[in-house]
């Protein structure tokens, strides 16, 4: 019983490793679909944010076209693409906005949904989240 349990887990592990290794040679930016992919992810993400009353009010004073462009640049830079981010730092751009943990959690959820809507594989999604999650400190509660 014990042996069959552990061989099942090893098999699962091997399967996972093999499904993961195929995509590793590309940069994260390429895995997200480069410029077109990141633009589409950004558009899905903005649509999801607009539908959420908890979040939408934060954007009342925002020029969405400029915001969209900065977001595309930011995702490009974060994922290792050859872009220049022309916006303010994460800290400066969120000062005075009073972003709570609930806001941040909801936004992360909308980003995950946008990545799923654009059929980004789970390993790529998690790799991007690994790079974005630590920004929590710069974005919330100030």
């Amino acid at each position: 019983m014990l042996t069959s349990r552990f061989s099942l887990i090893s098999l699962l592990g091997l399967l996972l490793l093999c499904s993961g290794c195929a995509a590793k040679s590309d940069s994260l930016y390429q895995q997200l679909g480069s410029h077109n992919g990141v633009s589409q992810i950004t558009d899905s993400f903005l649509q999801n944010l607009a539908k959420d009353p908890l979040i939408a009010h934060h954007f009342e004073q925002t020029d969405i076209h400029v915001f969209r462009q900065r977001l595309i640049e930011h995702l490009c830079v974060v994922s290792g693409g050859d872009c220049v981010y022309k916006g303010e730092s994460m800290f400066d751009s969120h000062v005075g906005l009073h972003i709570s943990q609930a806001d941040f959690d909801a936004v992360v959820g909308h980003l995950i949904d946008a990545l799923k809507q654009q059929h980004i594989p789970i390993a790529t999604r998690n790799a991007l989240l690994a790079k974005l999650a630590p920004m929590y400190q710069d974005i919330t509660y100030h």
């Binding site: 019983m1 349990r5 887990i9 699962l12 592990g13 996972l16 490793l17 499904s19 993961g20 908890l54 709570s100 943990q101 609930a102 806001d103 941040f104 959690d105 909801a106 992360v108 959820g109 995950i112 594989p121 789970i122 390993a123 790529t124 998690n126 790799a127 989240l129 690994a130 999650a133 630590p134 929590y136 400190q137």
Partner: protein, 282 residues
């Protein structure tokens, strides 16, 4: 103590109903509230994690109800619990356990009231693990059998410190949840066989670990290990372990199944079997 227990339950029910009418929040990501342990705290099946139950984030409420059943060779344990959380910071829980001694005959049971408070860190967002402290007050239904086998008290308090951390993209692109809990306890078989004994009535620090790999956003496989004291002379008490699969169907319903190894209980060796729990969250 019985009165305190009843009052606490009434307060819990009252606050839960308030929470239900005041629109529970669900901002947290799926699976980040964990499952519910057989003792009522959020965690795996047997190890409490630093996570706060339900899906409430800051300034939101959440309530959780759970029913679980464990069936091993000579015993079965059912556990029903309800929990309430606020702000992804506080968790209060109540669990009622019934332990059937299928081979020996008879039934034991206990009530567990738990409180957990998140001290520091964030499960997903900070380098520092999320750290929580918890207290569990446990009261046995009937002390006759535990007393006969050498237990000293029919109630006890466990205090634990838990750390939990998610590592994104950890193994084959999947997120890994890791947990370490240190528990100060006098409980014999988690309290079902009473607390302490004539030989050993001091608190002991026990380590509990749990790891889970999220194969999908809402599907986890994992392993848990729970170290336990060995206070009673009449029979050796061993550590517990299990291998589990957790399916978080949506933010309102989750199911956990496990293969459990509870070691020797009350002199009956190799207690292995299954565990199933169903959970509802608002």
């Amino acid at each position: 103590m019985q009165l305190l227990l009843k009052n606490s339950l009434i307060i819990l029910l009252f606050v839960s109903s308030l929470a239900l009418t005041a629109q529970a929040g669900t901002s947290k990501l799926i699976a980040t509230g964990g499952a519910t342990t057989i003792e009522g705290a959020a965690g795996g099946g047997i190890v409490p994690w630093a996570v706060i139950n339900g899906y409430a984030s800051s300034d939101q409420w959440s309530t959780t109800v759970m029913y679980s059943q464990v069936g091993v060779d000579d015993f079965s344990l059912s556990s029903a619990s309800m929990g309430l959380s606020f702000g992804n910071r506080f968790e209060i829980s109540y669990a009622k356990q019934a332990f059937d001694l299928d081979t020996i005959g008879g039934q034991l049971g206990q009530d567990i009231i738990g409180i957990k408070y998140k001290i520091v860190g964030e499960l997903l967002y900070s380098r520092l693990p999320q750290m929580s402290v918890g207290v569990q007050y446990k009261q046995l239904d009937d002390f006759a059998l535990p007393q006969a086998v050498g237990a000293k008290e029919d109630w006890g308090i466990d205090i634990y410190l838990a750390g939990s951390k998610v590592f994104f993209d950890a193994i084959a692109g999947r997120n890994l949840v890791t947990n370490l809990t240190l528990r100060a306890t006098k409980a014999n078989q988690t309290g079902l066989l009473g607390f302490g004994s004539a030989q050993s009535s001091d608190y002991q620090i026990m380590a509990e670990v749990s790891v889970a790999l999220l194969l999908l956003d809402n599907l986890a496989i994992g392993y848990e290990y729970k170290q336990k004291p060995d206070n009673l002379n009449f029979a050796e008490e061993q550590d517990w372990q299990d291998v589990f699969i957790g399916w978080f169907i949506n933010k309102h319903v989750s199911v956990v199944g496990a293969y459990v190894d509870l070691g020797s209980i009350a002199g009956l060796g190799r207690q292995q079997g299954w565990y199933l729990s169903v959970e509802g969250t608002l």
